[in-house]
Symmetry: C2
Subunit: 273 residues, 2 copies
């Protein structure tokens, strides 16, 4: 009658199957697939490491604390996933599904926990830097958004970036703006994700990067990050988002009093299916 017929019955797979089988017939098929996998792996994990009540409760408290400090400007639950590589993994899975057999498509990377919905629209060629620090290096960033298969320039594609602005490509699919050469920074250490990094004796830095989100009607949206190939943290990103094909080089720019550096980055989008 009960699910545990003797002490320790939960230690066997029959208990796990019982939890899975508890899902009713009205469960959405995809949710059933996801929850079945989640329940099986979480149970196997607990059994394998002989997880104790105290250890599990420490994990619960970490989750509750992450939720309490999350708001519309910071997502600590997401950061917890990031430091164990989950967002990068899920991003790759989603990208692989979108890419299919297409080659040349600009690679995706994680959105990260600091994206904001209220980013302002700006004109091409304008600057997103308000307070350039004494050691900051201004960069003229530009490029072209094209269809990955036809090479056709995509007009009115919008680009947002993290310091932050939305730009619209011209009739040649081109965009341009001034920004700062990014610098490495540590992920926030005042929450459970930072605490976990400390407990795992891991570097807290993210390599210097620029976030890109590119949207065009009729094409699949792209969320990615590009990384300064000279950054020393490229090999130990605390959230595991670095990909070789997303590493870029900032080169000297001549004849522009506004910026000593330049970055040209073209973007290739896939047609929406």
């Amino acid at each position: 009658m009960s699910v545990n017929d003797q002490n320790g019955a939960a230690l066997g797979q029959a208990f796990t199957q019982n939890v899975i089988d508890a899902m009713g017939p009205k469960t959405d098929p995809r949710l059933r697939e996801v929850m079945t996998g989640l329940i099986r792996h979480i149970h196997d994990f607990a059994r394998e490491v002989r997880l104790t009540t105290d250890e599990w409760m420490a994990g619960v408290e970490m989750i509750n604390q992450a939720g309490r400090m999350s708001d519309d400007k910071r997502n600590e639950g997401q950061l917890l996933c990031d430091v164990i590589g989950l967002e990068s993994l899920v991003d790759d899975i989603t990208f692989a599904a979108a890419a299919n057999s297409t080659t040349g498509l600009t690679a995706s990377a994680i959105l990260g926990p600091f994206w904001r919905q209220d980013t302002p629209h700006r004109d091409n060629g304008s600057s997103v830097t308000f307070d350039t620090p004494p050691d900051g290096e201004v960069v003229y960033m530009h490029g072209q958004v094209t269809d990955v298969e036809t090479g056709e320039p995509l007009q009115n594609a919008s680009r947002e970036h993290n310091l932050r602005g939305i730009f619209h490509t011209d009739d040649q699919g081109k965009y341009s703006f001034y920004c700062l050469r990014p610098t490495p920074y540590p992920v926030p250490q005042d929450g459970p994700a930072g605490k976990l990094l400390g407990m795992m004796d891991r570097p807290v830095f993210r390599p210097a990067h620029i976030h890109l989100m590119v949207q065009h009607k009729g094409h699949k949206s792209l969320t990615t990050q590009i990384f300064d190939k000279d950054c020393k943290y490229l090999g130990n990103d605390s959230v595991f988002a670095v990909k070789d094909e997303l590493s870029v080089e900032f080169v000297p720019r001549k004849g522009d009093p506004l910026a000593p550096l330049e970055l040209c980055y073209d973007i290739r989008l896939a047609k929406a299916s």
Copy 2:
């Protein structure tokens, strides 16, 4: 130099190994063991079900919401674990480790998300029921706390229960009080755990039960629940805590104007190691 040498590298086990290997040498050995298992299983889960960014983000939002509604009277992160059977599983693992080869030890069960630290001390024979509802049935509950191996009665063991009180056993290890016969109740449905239960098309009820936490100096503490064997939800507890040996029978009590029912429940504790 980077961890992902090509598109989709995170889809392979090398990515997962890289995340695991990122743990530094100062990581506590047990934490390394737990995190290695967690990272491996969470990654395998994501790969197996081809978890998408949108699905993962829905999970993150569920975790953040659980944290936001948790406080010292309610633990929604815990309840999320409970509905996928994790607290019961971890409890069994911990109990198995405590029980070793001892037979006869009173079985443990989950603490649940509503335990409170401020439970008052009360005299044996007193009542914990303040407002008996018209359809409520008063029960005289009593029993003896003994050492599981020697049978020796344990004096000054303290018992807490959920409606709620702390009682101290007498020199015979005996306790007694009046309470209500428990009734089934639904887990809270205003949070992500209740929402998840709904999405999984599962019953939300917990079978009628009484929480027990028994502590005695020199013996291992016991946290458990006992279940009314006549309850119709015994076979589909929403948090999978029911065990046959924790099912109890409420029997008629004669000659006591205060209670028509009686429950005798003896408890056997193991010596602290």
